[in-house]
């Protein structure tokens, strides 16, 4: 579409601003993930066509370009409203829009944008973690349905999900990337059994999902049979683009008393009476620097992208964040010393240091381990050659698993 003039962008800005003034209630600010008014608000946003302005008019959008879409997003951000920019960030609806059948689009896109439909991911398996193309869950055609058998893991929100985005093997006689297909599997059915996993943090946000003759209608196959890897790669790219900035902080809720302009670790060190220890001072500088440097890198990447050039720095963020989280947790622990032997609500600092030490693995393993991330950076950013894969051109039936 034609590039917008400044005055057109200004018109859009005032239109969005006026609409928000008439419709947005600031009290809903923290209801983006869940909250009593979430769906009501999202429904309004979808009806006003602000949810996905870059999408075609046919699918709740306005057919706008990125510059126009950004204006809408910046106005929403200004008042703390959520629900726009889903054309960029809503993994589920973007995947359906790009690869779904017409039936599936009609059935799901509106509900996904309005937040009425809950989703989960059925990707990883016990035997297919980093090597996701090695999944062994099978889907077989039976009449106008697919019958699915296998076992998935690391599925969050499985219990409330209406559908799971499923990668399954539909052909065992071709190499591993070529025999995969991608489905929207209905979760509320007899063939789906969900068991929560107890994590090292003593929390249970992830589940194992057992699929026994679970059924998916033919219309729920995305793209074509055998094209699942391509769909998955696209979906993963959406997921990575919103990951990395979402790491959790301390969970105790205990505030740290900070003087004006004081860095968090300075406050923690003062509280622990270790601010005068030269070694701790050095480490506070080092650890605070890591996070600041990553912020500077992200800001530079965003500026480069805004100027229309691609940025390779963007892809460094997840690996850098994993280092930051581990280093920060290590410093929190060392500032506490023996107190870190304890946990629980009576020992909030220890609780946080210990939780963060363990939860750092969420980022350094989840969504691709640091080592896989290093492979990706070295290949895609630095252009180093791929390592030969012994199973790449072998029919999957003959590939060794375990």
């Amino acid at each position: 579409m034609r590039e917008a003039t400044q005055s057109e962008l200004d018109t859009i800005r005032s239109e969005v601003r006026a609409w928000l003034e008439a419709n947005w209630n600031p009290a809903w600010r923290n209801q983006a993930v869940d909250g009593p008014n979430r769906i009501t608000w999202l429904t309004r946003v979808v009806e006003a066509r602000w949810a996905a302005p870059r999408w075609p008019v046919e699918w709740f959008g306005r057919g706008w370009d990125d510059a126009r879409g950004r204006v809408v997003e910046s106005e929403f951000a200004r008042v703390g409203a959520f629900g726009t920019g889903q054309d960029r960030t809503n993994l589920w609806s973007n995947t359906v829009l790009t690869f779904g059948t017409k039936t599936l689009k009609e059935q799901l896109i509106g509900g996904l944008l309005r937040g009425e439909i809950n989703m989960c991911l059925l990707y990883s398996e016990a035997g297919a973690g980093s090597d996701l193309a090695g999944v062994r869950t099978r889907a077989e055609k039976s009449g106008d349905e697919w019958v699915v058998n296998g076992q998935k893991v690391w599925t969050s929100r499985a219990k409330i999900a209406d559908y799971g985005m499923l990668i399954a093997r539909t052909n065992w006689d071709v190499p591993k990337h070529k025999g995969l297909s991608f489905f929207f599997l209905p979760m509320k059915q007899a063939g789906v059994e969900i068991r929560p996993l107890r994590q090292i943090t003593n929390e249970s946000e992830f589940n194992e999902v057992f699929l026994t003759d679970a059924r998916a209608p033919a219309a729920n196959l995305l793209s074509r049979e055998g094209d699942g890897w391509r769909v998955l790669v696209t979906a993963l790219a959406y997921e990575r683009s919103v990951m990395g900035e979402s790491a959790r902080g301390p969970r105790s809720g205990a505030a740290v008393e900070r003087k004006q302009g004081e860095a968090e670790f300075v406050a923690l060190a003062r509280e622990a009476d270790r601010l005068d220890q030269p070694e701790m001072r050095q480490r506070i500088a080092q650890v605070t620097a890591l996070r600041r440097l990553n912020d500077l890198n992200s800001a530079r990447a965003k500026a480069e992208i805004a100027q229309g050039s691609s940025s390779s720095i963007m892809s460094l963020g997840k690996l850098a964040m994993s280092r930051i989280l581990h280093e920060e947790a290590r410093l929190r622990t060392d500032l506490l010393g023996a107190q870190s032997l304890l946990e629980g609500p009576d020992h909030p600092r220890a609780e946080d240091a210990n939780f963060l030490s363990l939860n750092a693995y969420f980022t350094s393993i989840g969504g691709g381990t640091d080592q896989i991330q290093q492979n990706i950076i070295s290949e895609r950013v630095l252009g180093l050659p791929k390592e030969p894969e012994v199973d790449r051109d072998v029919p999957f039936r003959e590939v060794r698993g375990g």
Binding site: Q260, V266, R281, A289, R300, L316, R323, Q374, S378
Partner: protein, 370 residues
């Protein structure tokens, strides 16, 4: 001229890249490091003609006033090519100290020639301690009639033998003060030191009652030095960021070409994982140096903290990339002919100049409120 637009900056960067490609290839760097001066007069004159020596000097004193943001970008290329010369000593540190003195007569007398490259200036700052702090100053000055004489030792002086303008930081009864020394006077002993970074010229100077002209108000000498040091730290950070980036490029290119066990060593994860870690280091260094330059330029309220951050982040990044880069190369980088050790030598020099990383981390913690 003043601050450059994005287009002007890009155009300056392009011209400089062409100049350095033609005049400062690795063969020229090696030739420079073998000479007495450690740099090429011809290249120096061309840099001056391009305005590089006047970037940090105000227009009223013959410079362009382009400022630290532009100088930082220039230094990225200096680091990438290992260009030799007194740019940091003269056009950055000495020019900054003179401007920082607020002595308009001295600025008018000294800065135009520095901006034009006709004069090379250097600062006699630290003593044998080598700390680049007030405590490190080992020169003393005493009034003699309406003049001053300066005595004592100055160490780690950059390009002193090449410089015609010597600025001494010395202790007086009224506190630290700045002096322009009479370069031709009796009582000067200037000894060239063997520098581990062969592209760097370092001298040790002993002064015995050498006449000096006071610049600025005695007692306010350290303020002037701080302005010079801030500029120097930002410029050095840029040089290190540029050096780190280039060393990584050289290493990655080699890893694609070098075959062992029938495939490029760059296809092994042992090499890939090191390379991925190093690009985070080098890109963070670029971000840190550019941020420090922007904050210094804006004189923001927290610019000292950003400079401290850049000082240790860039020094450490360059050091790590150069060191790991040698390891990733293997035997070829253990040879004198390979440029890798030249990068490591410059990286190691940069960790010490103007205060080491431990010192800058301590300053950073203070800036964070600690």
């Amino acid at each position: 001229m003043g601050r450059l637009s994005t287009e002007e900056l890009t155009s300056l960067e392009d011209s400089l890249a062409r100049l350095l490609r033609d005049q400062s290839p690795m063969t020229a760097v090696r030739a420079s490091m073998e000479t007495e001066d450690s740099f090429s007069q011809e290249l120096w004159q061309q840099l001056a003609a391009m305005g590089i020596t006047g970037l940090l000097i105000d227009e009223e004193y013959g410079g362009s006033g382009a400022g630290p943001v532009t100088m930082e970008r220039v230094m990225e290329q200096v680091g990438a090519t290992l260009m030799c010369g007194p740019l940091l000593a003269s056009a950055v540190l000495a020019a900054g100290v003179i401007s920082g003195s607020g002595d308009h007569a001295a600025e008018a007398r000294l800065l135009p020639a520095i901006a034009g490259g006709d004069s090379i200036a250097t600062v006699l700052l630290t003593g044998p301690k080598g700390t680049w702090t007030e405590e490190g100053v080992a020169l003393t000055a005493a009034p003699q009639g309406n003049r001053w004489t300066v005595s004592g030792e100055a160490h780690y002086v950059l390009h002193a033998a090449n410089a015609n303008c010597w600025l001494a930081v010395a202790r007086t009864d009224q506190g630290l003060a700045l002096f322009e020394l009479d370069r031709k006077a009796q009582g000067i002993s200037c000894n060239r030191q063997r520098s581990f970074d062969h592209t760097l010229r370092i001298d040790q100077i002993t002064l015995d009652a050498v006449p000096g002209k006071a610049i600025g108000t005695p007692g306010c000498g350290w303020q002037a030095v701080e302005q010079g040091l801030n500029q120097a730290l930002v410029a050095l950070a840029g040089e290190q960021a540029g050096g780190a980036r280039r060393m990584l490029e050289i290493t990655v290119e080699y890893a694609k070409l070098r075959y062992q066990f029938g495939r490029p060593i760059g296809s092994y994860q042992a090499i890939k994982h090191m390379a991925a870690d190093l690009i985070i280091e080098s890109e963070s260094a670029v971000s840190a140096a550019r941020k420090a330059a922007a904050e210094l330029d804006a004189r923001s309220s927290d610019y000292p903290g950003w400079i401290s951050l850049a000082a240790f982040a860039c020094a450490d990044a360059f050091n790590r990339v150069a060191a790991d880069g040698i390891q990733m190369h293997g035997g070829i980088a253990f040879t004198w002919e390979h440029p890798a050790h030249l990068y490591l030598r410059r990286a190691r020099a940069g960790v010490q100049l103007f205060g080491n990383s431990t010192y800058h981390r301590e300053n950073y913690v203070r800036a964070l409120g600690g």
